[in-house]
Symmetry: C2
Subunit: 201 residues, 2 copies
């Protein structure tokens, strides 16, 4: 395969995912067929199947894109200059805001997420590991600057991420309406108490 | 109504709930009908409807009983003597263990819980408030003994409960299999860091 045809292949793959995401949002995941996606792209279903072996694979690709956008934003915050503590707050708040926007406000996308969670996808695991890693980077910056104290850094990142599930997990965000809960800023303050150096004040 | 007939009424209500729970476990919530429950009790469906106006009400009653058992155990731990910290750990671990046993190991009961969560029942809210209150009691005991520090006690209890969602919420417990997560003891250690007095060590 030449470099040019590789480019065309990647382009077609991308186009299928863009159209699939739009149709999943408009019609819902269950009602959208591979034939619908092919029709929008003026190609045969067989051609779509050259790129994705099933509707599930397309679904995984769309989920990967949506999660990837959150990861890009998280990396941008982790790489920004300035003290670690406000950036960790911004990072945690941004993940909450992006997940709320994309999965909860949009009931059709929420259906997609529910299926993803039930089918226990690898994409979810990879995303959780990625986000935990980025949280760990910012905690490490805070340890270096004396803002945080974390004897076991990967564990501190994992506990911070696990402690934020109420604000990160699409199903928990959706269910939390009308349920007793701390606000996100109260929760972050509480977790910061676990991360702050003991002898600081 | 005399006291004796009141007793009979309460007994019948209890019996309906016991039989309903057994049938929900055996056949699943969706497949169990009010007629099935009545048949097991050798009474007419009309008689069951005298006590519960719908299958949903019976479902709520069964959920209330299951959650009530967790609350009884939680209260027992909160009322026990000894230092607060090991008792708070025992309390958090016990809620996790009981919820895992009753909702996750048992796929039929899990179906029941999923419906409960989706229908956003008041019983869930009352249970969360109750558990949060009991957690608050043990934190208060720890504040009194100097083991904990919590300038805002109800908020500390709420954040502890919210931070434990991964280990308390039936759907999160079920989904956590094969997903990156801290262990429950690691998570409790981390939250304890947020509760411990700053100048202690």
């Amino acid at each position: 395969m030449t470099l040019i045809s590789e480019h065309v292949e990647t382009d077609t793959r991308e186009k299928i995912l863009v159209v699939a995401e739009r149709l999943f949002r408009q019609m819902g995941y269950q009602k959208t067929t591979v034939a619908d996606i092919a029709k929008e792209l003026r190609m045969s279903p067989a051609n779509v199947y050259r790129f994705f072996d099933s509707k599930k694979s397309i679904h995984e690709g769309v989920a990967r894109t949506l999660m990837g956008e959150v990861e890009v934003e998280a990396r941008r915050i982790a790489a920004a200059p300035g003290p670690a503590k406000p950036r960790l707050r911004e990072l945690l708040t941004t993940i909450n805001r992006m997940n709320t926007e994309r999965y909860v406000g949009d009931s059709k996308l929420h259906e997609m997420v529910e299926i993803a969670m039930e089918e226990d996808w690898d994409v979810c695991v990879v995303h959780i590991e990625c986000v935990t890693g980025i949280i760990g980077q910012v905690i490490a910056q805070g340890v270096a600057s004396g803002e945080f104290e974390a004897p076991d850094l990967p564990l501190a990142a994992l506990c911070t991420c696990t402690g934020m599930i109420r604000f990160f997990h699409p199903q928990m965000i959706a269910q939390a309406v009308n349920k007793p809960s701390a606000t996100i800023d109260q929760m972050i303050d509480f977790l910061f108490r676990a991360l702050e150096p003991r002898k600081a004040n």
